[in-house]
Symmetry: C2
Subunit: 340 residues, 2 copies
Amino acid sequence: MNLTVALDAMGGDHGPSVVVPAAFRVLAEHPELYLIMVGNQGILEAELARHSCPDAKRVSMVHASQEVRMDELPSQALRNKKDSSMRVAIDLVKRGEAHACVSAGNTGALMATARFVLKTLPGIDRPAIIAALPSVTGHTHVLDLGANVESTPQQLFQFAVMGSVLVSAVDNISRPTVGLLNIGQEEMKGNESVKEAAKLLAASDIHYVGFVEGDDIYRGTANVIVCDGFVGNVALKSSEGVASMIGHFIRQEFRRSFWSRAVGFIAFPVLRAFRRRIDPREYNGASFVGLRGIVIKSHGGADVIAFSRAISEAIAEIRKNVPERISQHLESVLSQAEAV
Amino acid sequence: MNLTVALDAMGGDHGPSVVVPAAFRVLAEHPELYLIMVGNQGILEAELARHSCPDAKRVSMVHASQEVRMDELPSQALRNKKDSSMRVAIDLVKRGEAHACVSAGNTGALMATARFVLKTLPGIDRPAIIAALPSVTGHTHVLDLGANVESTPQQLFQFAVMGSVLVSAVDNISRPTVGLLNIGQEEMKGNESVKEAAKLLAASDIHYVGFVEGDDIYRGTANVIVCDGFVGNVALKSSEGVASMIGHFIRQEFRRSFWSRAVGFIAFPVLRAFRRRIDPREYNGASFVGLRGIVIKSHGGADVIAFSRAISEAIAEIRKNVPERISQHLESVLSQAEAV
C-alpha cells in the first residue's frame, strides 16, 4: 500500500530547511512513502534544489501563499489564513489526497484548523493531544497535553478510549492499561471531575488501573495516562524543565575544573548513551486524536531527526488506521452504554 | 530569643528513629533552640537513650497516646485521634508553648488538624502548601502543592500574597517576582480561573510578572509561582518522577560494562557534586501558609538530613515571624481594596 503524507513545509521555527532534509531522510527508509510538500513554491524549489536525493520523484509540491505565525491567534489563523501551508496540508487530508499531515506550526491554530476542516469523530466532543513520554520501562502515552483547558468526566472518559485504542494499535498491546492522573491514589482524593471519570472508567471495558500520580508517568505504571489539557501541559513542561536543568547541572559540573573536564571527556560515551535514552527528539510527534483524519504536531523547534520522527509517527498511524479504529471502538462503547 | 519547636516524633515512615537524631543534629547548630518531642513516651525514651547528646537538656517530652496512620482519612484522624502525636504537637503551637511544629505524617490529616486547631488568618479562605524547588538560578517557591483540589481566582490571589510575603521574609527579597502557572504565556490562554486571577494580580501591589509555564519553575523565571493544588501537586510529582528516572538511567549506563563502571568510578566525585545540587533532601520541608501558626510538613520518607532541613525551615520562619507578616500584608491589601 502506498502512503501519502502532506507536510506543512513552512511551519515551525526552521521551516523548509528542516522539513526538506527530514523528508528525504524518511523517504529513504520507506519505499512505499510519497510526500507532498506544502508551502511557498519558490522557497521550496530552492530548498529542494539544495539536496540531491534519489527519492525526489516521490516528492510533489503544492503551493500555499500564506503562513501561520507562531504567535497568531487560532481564531484569526482560521479566518484569515485560508491559503496557509498548514490549512492546505489539512485540506489535502480532508480531500483524501493525503493519508495524514505533519506540521511543526502553531499548536492552537493547527488544532482549530484541523477541527474545523476534518471534524471530530462521532461520539467525541473534543480532540486531544497525545504523545509518548519516556519511562523506566519503555514509554507512557499521556493525553490531553494541552488541547483543552478543562474537561468534563465524559471527555476524560473519551480521552481514555482514544488513548487506549491508539496505544493498542501503535504499540501492539491488546488491552493497554489506563490510569487517571490524580493527586493521590486513594479513592477520596481529587476533584469531582476525576472522581466521576473514575466511575465511568471502572464501569467500562477499558483496562482501567485506577488513579496514578505525576511520577507514575515515568515509572511506567500504566500504558496510557489520562488528564485534562491544563494538567497534562503543566506536567509535560515541568518535566522538560527538570530534564533541562539536570542537563545544565551535569554539563556545569563536568566543566568546573581541568580534572572534571578530563573526566567528562572519558565519560562522554557513557553520558551520550544516557542522553540518547531521554533524547526528546526521539519523542517528537504528538498526535491530535479524535479527528476524522491523522494530524501530527511536531515540536516547533524540531531539528531534522526530530521532524523525521514526527513523519514516522504519521506513517505508523496510517498503517494502523488509528482514526477508523477509534471510531469503531467508540461505536461499540456507545452501543453498550445504550444497551444498559 | 529562645525558639521552641514541637516535633511530631511518631510521624512519617521512620518515626523516632529519624526524628530523634535529626533533632540532635539541629540542636547542635542552634544554641537558642528548644525542642519538644511529642509521642509515645516509652518509645521516645528508648530512642533518646540510644543517643548521647550534650544538648539533651534542651529536649523535653510530651506524651501522646495515639498515632495518625499514613493512609487515614483526614476527617477520621480529626475526629478519632485527639491524642495523636500530630494533634498534640499542633496544640502546643496553639497554646503558645511552641513557636512552630514539624511533622512527617499524613499530609491531609496534618492540614485538616492544623486548620481546625490553629484556624486560618483573617482574609484567607484556604491554607496552601508552599515549598522551594531547585532552579538553574537558585530556587523557586511554588504554591499550592496540593492542599486544595480547586481554587477560585480570589484564592489564587491569596496564594500569591502569602507566597510573596514568605519569600520576602525567608529569602530577604524586598519585592519577590510572582508568576501565575498557565499553559502558555499569551493572555488569551488558560482557563477562566487563571485569567481572572491574572487581573487581580495585575491590579495589586504584588510584583506580578505574568503567566509562566511548567518549565519556568526550573528556569528561575519568578521567585514565586502560583497554581491550584491539583496542578501544583502534579507538577511536583512529575518533576520527581523525571529526576528519579534520569538518576536510574545514569546509574544503569555507568553499570553497563566493565569500562563504564571504571568511568563511573572516576566520574564519581563529579556526579556526586551534581547530585548534591538536586538533592531532594535539601528541599525538604514544605510550609502550610495561611494559618495562625507555623506548621512544616516533612516528606514522609525523610531521612535524618531531610528531617533536619524541615526543622531548619521552621526556625527560619519563626525568626521572620511569617504568619504575622502575612496577616499584616493581607490587612493592607484588604484595606486598599476597600478604599477603591
